[in-house]
Amino acid sequence: MIPSDHYTRFYNEVFKFLEAEGEEVLEAYFLAISKNQEQHILELIETKGLAGMEEYWTHIKIEENCDMDIDRNEDRLELRMNVCPSLSKVLDSDAEPMARYCDHCAGWIGPIFDKTGYYLVYDVIDRKKPQCVMRVFKDEAKAKAAELDVKLLMGWPGHKVS
């Protein structure tokens, strides 16, 4: 058994393999993981909207031991990851980190927001630092406005950013 604690270090090896095989297979993998994740979050979003997302990430914050602030208002949900346990473990590994490790996060959640009619603004800030800010909006115009205030905007399959 690869312990669940070490999944991210295993994931990192998978990413390195897939990146060498080409961008299309990496995206196909993100979509496969996204499909897998639907069983945990899709119904919450569809039935409870932003409150359902808050419920999901509150659970994640506990189980993944995240140092994360969650803030929700009428218009949007904001996750402010102060110390990301996923990238922290990959950086604290005897194996080489994949340079674009952070891409996986928007890679799986972005397609789910596309399906459910929400607008994601994912600021990775710096791929070498275990911190990021994710905002999810009901309104596309507000999401577009928020994109002007990011350091490193992340895209996902079907939603490229320049």
């Binding site: 058994m1 393999f17 496969a32 993981i33 897998n36």
Partner: protein
């Protein structure tokens, strides 16, 4: 014998990661074949777990046994470890990972337990030991370290 763990997480556990591992195994094997998946597990065994691998090469099984105790306990597996002069046997009667995936998706990938077998083989590569992994039932196995 070194029982100091290179990785020794504490706190909560997120068992749903095992579901993502199951999806990953099916994805990689489906697109690239079994050899590609085996090679990734080999890298996990030799690179991610370099510290355990190097201890084994040096003839020291201590960290691997401590790793088993730490993580099988953290995941509330039903297991025991028997250490004697000729071999060390980890008997897993209830693997939390396998059973959690079974709860999520019904039937885990037929290659789900390769993560154990292949990683064990890589850990032992070039060392005075072999690590055999025998699947003894659904979510159950026996892992044996013995000298070559």
């Amino acid at each position: 014998m070194s029982e100091k763990l290179r990785y020794a997480e504490e706190g909560e556990v997120h068992l749903d990661f095992h579901g993502a591992t199951n999806t990953t195994i099916d994805f990689i094997i489906g697109k690239f074949g079994l050899a590609a998946m085996d090679e990734i597990f080999r890298k996990v065994g030799k690179d991610v777990y370099r510290s355990i691998h190097e201890d084994l090469i040096a003839g020291d099984t201590g960290q691997l046994v401590a790793h088993w105790r730490h993580f099988f306990t953290r995941e509330s597996c039903d297991y025991d470890i028997a250490v004697d002069a000729d071999e060390i046997v980890l008997s897993v009667r209830h693997c939390t990972a396998w059973h959690h995936v079974a709860k999520l998706v019904g039937t885990p990938s037929s290659h789900f337990c390769d993560q154990t077998s292949r990683t064990n083989e890589a850990l032992a590569e070039g060392s005075p030991f072999i690590i055999d992994t025998e699947i003894t039932g659904p979510g159950a196995c026996r892992q044996v370290i013995r000298r070559r």
